[in-house]
């Protein structure tokens, strides 16, 4: 036994003396711990987030983040444009603006939406938001009470699930396949809710180049889903940040182009121009728009003036349609690098979606593997992805991961997929060792031993390494 007299071990037992700068800590480190709103209870530190921090190191190939390739923009031209907005129009661009957003920008937004078949939208129905993320938050605030049911694809955009969780909504997932949301599954979900006496507040869907699944809702299904909305009195939130980023075909007609009463449309300049400017919008029927404007005024007073003017000026003066083509060519090349590498390198039993646009591939691991549990191995191998579990509100998705090809160069993508393949192979090897273990055949577990003495002199040494 060590000599207990060796150290002081007690507070204030040394010569330093108490410092006036030190105030006693609360035992929980947070004196407000018992005051938080119920909606914050899910907000905790997580291992997943911690593991992501290595992504900023250049050694790591990140197939995790969905960061647009903004360096493909004509940065000098955009820079002088923004400079002129301040030097020439500072009185407007540095001032508060309208809660609904700049009228000129709203006009131009209608031009952008026309590319996807929304030709009847009026600028008065558009509310400019701080990214479409704020638009989604506003719509949720306006429609959802705690406990309300929201339908969303399985999987669904993680940022939307965060908004719905903060609103204390109950998210029910609806199955999708390579053609997007399955109408029969949607109908089934609606019937189940009806049978349970639950009213569905809305369906949240990303019809084009889905985040995270990469798939696109087919033309026949678009009509089918709008018909279901009519039949079941369903409101649809159509979130469409990627619609103009198709690689093969012309943009598809939006759901909103097929029905203007049951569909609230969310748009964004984050993927077609710049995510850092945080400009998005909501297109909603007039009565809804009124509530959205009041809600946004309560939240942010008005969207930032300078970035709204920047987007409007960009659309007015820059070849933005050509710029979208530059983006899509770049993303197509990266998509190709991803799919070719996956085909060449992934172990048997791995499957993935084949996107025609957008940023994402949704990969399913061989049977039994868990993308979240595998993540430390991937970090050690210097490759990052997003585990699928984050894209579900109900704990599904462990066998999936999202791969983003939008940001790394093709050679880096190939290297990242190579590393990922090795990680999956190592994990398969591990599973082949442990999956067949039948603990039912183990001998009886001994009763807990008496408390171990300090020196353990009588403990068996043969277990020691």
């Amino acid at each position: 036994m060590p000599d207990p007299s060796v150290g002081t071990g007690q507070a204030g037992a040394h010569s330093s003396g108490a410092s006036p700068h030190v105030s006693p800590r609360h035992p929980r480190l947070d004196p407000l711990a018992d005051r938080y709103a119920a909606r914050t209870h899910g907000m905790k530190s997580s291992e997943i987030r911690a593991l992501f921090s290595v992504v900023s190191r250049p050694e790591v190939v990140s197939l995790a983040g969905g960061m647009p390739a903004v360096t493909a923009l004509p940065l000098d031209a955009v820079g002088s444009m923004i400079g002129e907005l301040v030097s020439g129009m500072g009185a407007q661009t540095l001032q508060y603006g309208s809660g609904q957003g700049d009228p000129r920008l709203r006009e131009r937004i209608c031009d952008v939406m026309a590319l996807e078949g929304i030709i009847d939208a009026r600028a008065s129905e558009v509310v400019v938001t701080v990214g479409s993320q704020q638009g989604l938050d506003l719509v949720t605030r306006v429609f959802v009470d705690p406990g309300d049911v929201i339908l969303a694809e399985a999987p669904s955009y993680v940022g939307a699930l965060g908004v719905f969780q903060a609103a204390q909504a109950e998210v029910r997932h609806v199955a999708m396949d390579d053609d997007g949301l399955i109408p029969e599954a949607l109908e089934q979900a609606l019937l189940e809710c009806r049978a349970q006496g639950r009213r569905v507040k809305f369906l949240y869907t990303v019809p084009n180049f889905h985040n995270p699944a990469g798939v696109t809702l087919s033309e026949p299904r678009r009509d089918a889903i709008v018909a279901i909305a009519e039949q079941y009195d369903l409101l649809i939130i159509e979130d469409n940040p990627y619609g103009l980023l198709g690689f093969e075909n012309e943009p598809m007609r939006a759901l909103r182009a097929r029905n203007e009463e049951r569909i609230i449309y969310l748009g964004s300049f984050s993927k077609t121009f710049s995510p850092g400017l945080r400009v998005g919008w909501v297109l909603a029927p007039l009565a809804v728009r009124e509530k959205l404007v009041l809600a946004t005024e309560a939240q942010v007073l008005c969207p930032p003036s300078l970035t709204q003017y920047a987007v409007a000026r960009y659309l007015d003066t820059q070849p933005w349609r050509e710029q979208i083509k530059i983006f899509t060519e770049l993303y197509r090349e990266r998509r190709d690098a991803t799919l070719e590498s996956l085909s060449a390198l992934m172990p048997a039993g791995t499957t993935w979606t084949k996107p025609d646009g957008g940023f994402y591939v949704w990969l399913k691991l061989p049977h039994g593997l868990d993308a979240k549990l595998m993540q430390p191995r991937a970090v050690a191998a210097h490759v990052a992805y997003v585990p699928g579990i984050g894209f579900y509100a109900d704990g599904q998705g462990r066998e999936y991961m999202r791969l983003s090809y939008c940001y790394p160069e093709p050679d880096r993508i190939r290297e990242g997929v190579r590393r990922l393949a090795r990680v999956i192979e190592a994990e398969l090897d591990l599973h082949s060792t442990f999956d067949s273990v039948d603990t039912g055949t183990f001998r009886a577990v001994p009763a807990p031993p008496p408390v171990i003495g300090p020196a353990n002199a009588d403990q068996p040494e043969d277990l020691q390494p």
Binding site: P2, G7, T8, P27, K44, S46, T441, F442, V451, P454
Partner: protein, 332 residues
């Protein structure tokens, strides 16, 4: 210890000490390390030290050569920062740093090896076995796990043989959960340590040595709301109660302090360390593991112990740095 006898406080008036604080790294604990590093820079700056944050990357050595620091503070967690590798390189470069030398770090980093040394020195530690994946593959995982359960009983703690921040650590109550726990733990490294679960009060025992010899700081008692001190409990303020000094008798506190000092001594540690231990209801203190680069974030236990002892973090870290700078680099 030769000289100086006790490191003086860094002076903010003349020639302030210049410190490079290393944080980040390419490990699972990068985020924790960045948080620690930020706290260290803040504390040192308040204590009058010119502290700068730097990652452990390819720019480190050229940067140190171009603008030498008086000493380096390593706030890296996980491999490289704690396994002795970076310190060995700093030794080669002739750069003084705060804390334990490379060889001691290598020993402390290897949890099973450290437990062996600590047990041989007469300190209690729960029984354990540490095995690589290949052993299970070659001998049959079922047979080996059966032996482990038969010998160590249930519940069991399954943890990576190296690494910190509770990452990968699991308590296994039911035998049928053991294979899956092994699989998820092996994702953190090639060797897993399975340890007999010991129930009791969890203590974090910090030791500092400002030049007068190692001093045990008041124990921090850890009481996670969920019962398990995992990553979420550790880094989400509000989910764990910390009591410092720990709510234990004076006798137990003295015994815990003695264990921390003994561990610090037998593993050859220097400057600062934090030993994690469990106190069983009979008052015995059982060693779990020791950290040569203890967490220094806002929710970490080492800074709590420092404050409870009446120091400020900046004072302690500043004196450790001063001492490292005065003693100069480690030469072999």
């Amino acid at each position: 210890m030769s000289e100086p006898a006790a490191a003086p406080m860094p002076s903010s008036t003349k020639n302030p000490l210049r410190a490079l604080v290393l944080a980040g790294g390419l490990t699972f604990e990068r985020e924790v390390s960045i948080n620690s590093g930020g706290q260290v820079v803040e504390a040192l700056t308040r204590a009058g030290v010119e502290a700068e944050l730097h990652d452990a990357d390819a720019e480190l050595l050229p940067g140190l050569a171009a603008t030498p620091s008086d000493a380096v503070f390593i706030a890296l967690h996980g491999a490289t920062g704690e396994d002795g590798a970076l310190r060995a390189v700093l030794d080669l470069a002739g750069v003084p740093y705060v804390g334990s030398p490379a060889a001691a770090c290598r020993l402390a980093w290897d949890k099973p090896a450290a437990k062996s040394v600590v047990r041989s020195a007469g300190v209690g530690t729960p029984d354990w076995v540490a095995l690589p994946h290949s052993t299970f593959r070659e001998l049959g995982a079922g047979a080996v796990l059966d032996l482990i359960v038969a010998r160590l009983g249930l519940p069991l703690m399954v943890k990576p043989a190296s690494g910190g921040s509770s990452l990968g650590v699991q308590k296994v109550d039911r035998v049928e959960d053991l294979p899956a726990a092994m699989v998820s733990c092996f994702a953190y490294g090639d060797t897993v340590m399975v340890e007999r679960f010991v129930d009791g009060v969890e203590l974090a025992l910090s030791v500092i040595d400002l030049g007068d010899g190692p001093e045990a700081l008041p124990a921090v008692e850890i009481a996670p709301e969920s019962g398990v001190f995992d990553y979420t409990s550790r880094y989400t303020p509000g989910l764990t109660e910390y009591h410092c000094p720990a709510r234990v008798s004076d006798e137990v506190a003295a015994r815990a302090a003695a264990v921390a000092l003994r561990v610090h001594d037998v593993l050859g540690l220097a400057g600062l360390s934090r030993t994690d231990a469990i106190v069983t209801p009979d008052g015995e203190v059982h060693f779990l593991e020791v950290n040569v680069s203890p967490g220094l974030t806002e929710t970490s236990m080492f800074p709590m112990a420092v404050e409870a002892a009446g120091y400020t973090l900046g004072e302690v870290l500043g004196r450790l740095l001063t001492r490292a700078a005065h003693e100069g680099p480690i030469t072999q």
